[in-house]
């Protein structure tokens, strides 16, 4: 009987283990080995940390990484600031069909691909685009205005693409907060601010944290939005990885960059969790 149970367990686990090892573990190990190779001649390689040293010694790569991390953090915060009131309204204030309709409205843009959504923003923001023409028509500006190809455009794109991933966990956690608890807060003499600070935000904390992690990771790993909206100044870390792999044929440096991105982003998430006193189990559970 015990042996059978064990066999059952093994059989049940096999697909998962195969998935994890074949599609995640083995490619990562291989990538790590590639990142430790240094090209010394045509088709000749030796093992060294040269690729990681390149990252440290070339200020450009470090700067790009810091820039990517800072912009992603900023995008996460802006997303949270916009998504929180929206989620609060959907979860606590709207009722019945309005509630479903509003939630659906958040979802609808994600039925089209990210590429199409980004093109949409390009049509709006470009020099001959909708907003520029509207401003000229209204007489607010004299000539065409270029709103594309700068950091603000990247930020708009990032916040827009990741909005849903913040709204969903927030709505879920906020819905689990009983209305009576909020009413009790008011009955005990708390003002709007105090109720928000003492009751709603602590209750929503796991949702906020998990939303922030997802949005931060999505922004950090985004490739399309910074490239298309950022133009000549985009400079995103994923772009560096892509160009090392595809344009430069330098898989070794690209693999090293990939591992640094993995390590540094995990470190940032871990730091954020420690800073806010949350743990991964609490957030995901």
């Amino acid at each position: 009987m015990r042996a059978e149970a064990k066999l059952g367990l093994i059989l049940l686990l096999t697909p998962l283990l195969l998935w994890l090892s074949l599609l995640i573990l083995i490619p990562h190990v291989d990538m790590f080995l590639v990142s430790l190779r240094e090209r010394i001649g045509v088709g000749e390689y030796r093992i060294s940390f040269a690729n990681y040293l390149t990252f440290i010694n070339e200020p450009l790569y470090l700067r790009t990484f810091i820039r990517t991390a800072v912009m992603s953090t900023l995008a996460t915060m802006i997303t949270l600031l916009i998504a929180f009131p929206v989620s609060y309204y959907i979860a606590k204030i709207a009722r019945g069909r309005v509630q479903s309709a509003l939630f659906l409205l958040c979802l609808v843009p994600f039925w089209v691909s990210e590429l199409v959504r980004t093109f949409g923003w390009m049509i709006l923001l470009r020099e001959t685009g909708l907003i520029s023409n509207l401003l000229q028509w209204a007489g607010l500006v004299d000539g065409p205005v270029e709103m594309l190809y700068n950091d603000a455009a990247i930020m708009v794109g990032l916040v827009y693409t990741s909005m849903l991933f913040m709204v969903v966990p927030l709505v879920t956690t906020l819905e689990s907060l009983p209305d009576e608890v909020i009413e009790a807060g008011y009955d005990l003499g708390g003002g709007g601010g105090a109720v928000m600070r003492e009751i709603v935000i602590p209750h929503a904390a796991p949702g906020i944290v998990s939303g922030c992690i997802v949005v931060f990771m999505l922004s950090l790993g985004n490739y399309l939005t910074p490239i298309m909206l950022g133009g000549k100044d985009s400079l995103w870390f994923t772009e560096l990885i892509y160009s090392q792999f595809i344009v430069r044929f330098n898989w070794e440096l690209g693999a090293a960059f990939g591992f640094l991105l993995l390590g540094l982003s995990s470190a940032i998430v871990w730091g954020m969790l420690k800073l806010t006193g949350q743990s991964l189990e609490k957030t995901m559970g």
Partner: protein, 356 residues
């Protein structure tokens, strides 16, 4: 087979249909550029030979990256530029030699065939035969950017903020020539090449405020030029000629320093499985009438002998307007890129992109 065929009428019918087809029908997985395998040509090829064609569109870097990832598998015929074959072949071994006896060499323009064979020879084997050639240079809105005569004029104040080029190696090479340097002569000498590239880097960083955006794909540039947001750019000749059809002001101009000439080739990936179909495709598309169909779709001329007669007159007129005879003599043809140069250029491109 004979025994089986005699069993029933049905089998007889089946056997005759089978023997009517060529010895074996294969699927040709073609890794190529947009426009190089138009649907009408593919349909005609499939009808005539019985082979199937699967087309994957790509560019030079992606082709090499894809073939490198699989060690030269996944595709049966690739079309990298002639200067990008010898280097990657030495480094990664992703191609197999071409059996010239299976190619109908009479279909090719002899000088172009010989030059490509020379540039794609590693050891004693030939790895590429020419297909389509063209140039890159300046695509200008001549009504607004007439003063732009050379790559470096893109940095002039007259076109500030209305310029676009790619952040890729043709830009580095073009600027180097316009600055009076000769990057091709320094290909074999890494120190000299690094020196040239650092001068180009300084120029491109100085020029950056002039640039609206670095374009990535051809369609993106078309959009920028059509809307008038960009009036001067560095691009392929076909891009300029296509826009010229819609707006007579926009056209391709060969720069004073010389247009950069490229030849896209046919190369056989090392683990390709349908060599017979690949050779059949090469010999099929090099026929003058078929080559003219490809020219109509891609906008560029081919290395096919006699295909010019079948080409569209409008395209020929645009070609003559962009290329006076002295500009043709001034075309700088890319020599083979030695392995390792990409790393030097990569650093330059990264630093230009990061500069403020």
């Amino acid at each position: 087979m004979k025994l089986n065929c005699s069993i029933s009428i049905f089998s007889v019918a089946l056997c005759t249909t089978l023997s009517a087809l060529p010895a074996s029908s294969e699927t040709l997985r073609l890794l190529t550029w947009g426009g190089y395998a138009p649907e009408d040509v593919v349909a005609k090829f499939e009808a005539e030979t019985g082979h199937k064609v699967e087309v994957t569109k790509s560019n030079n870097e992606e082709m090499i990256a894809k073939l490198r990832a699989t060690g030269g598998g996944g595709f049966d015929l690739a079309q990298p530029s002639q200067d990008r074959i010898a280097g990657p072949q030495e480094e990664f071994g992703i191609y197999k030699p071409i059996d010239m006896s299976k190619i109908d060499t009479s279909l090719f323009i002899p000088s172009m065939l010989e030059a490509t064979k020379g540039n794609t020879t590693v050891g004693s084997d030939v790895y590429g035969v020419p297909h389509i050639w063209g140039t890159s240079g300046l695509v200008l809105d001549t009504s607004k950017a007439e003063m732009v005569k050379d790559y470096t004029d893109l940095c002039s104040d007259d076109v500030a903020g209305k310029v676009s080029y790619r952040l890729k190696r043709p830009t580095l090479i073009g600027f180097a020539f316009a600055m009076g340097l000769d990057p091709f002569a320094a290909y074999g000498d890494e120190a000299a090449y690094t020196e040239i590239m650092s001068q180009v880097e300084a120029k491109l960083i100085e020029c950056k405020p002039n640039v609206k955006t670095y374009w990535g794909g051809g369609d993106e540039l078309m959009g920028l030029l059509r809307s008038g947001e960009v009036v001067a750019s560095m691009a392929w000749d076909t891009g300029g000629w296509k826009l010229n059809a819609d707006n007579p002001d926009i056209t391709f101009v060969a720069p004073a320093a010389g247009a950069l000439g490229w030849v896209d080739t046919f190369a056989l990936p090392a683990k390709g499985k349908a060599d017979e179909a690949a050779y059949a495709w090469i010999n099929f598309v090099m026929q003058p009438e078929v080559a003219a169909m490809i020219t109509a779709a891609a906008g560029n001329f081919t290395a096919s002998q006699g295909a010019d007669e079948f080409a569209d007159d409008d395209l020929k007129a645009r070609y003559r307007a962009s290329f006076p005879p002295e500009a043709i003599d001034n075309i700088k043809w890319y020599p083979p890129v030695p392995a390792g140069l990409e790393a030097i250029e990569g650093g330059v491109l990264d630093r230009v992109k990061a500069a403020n």
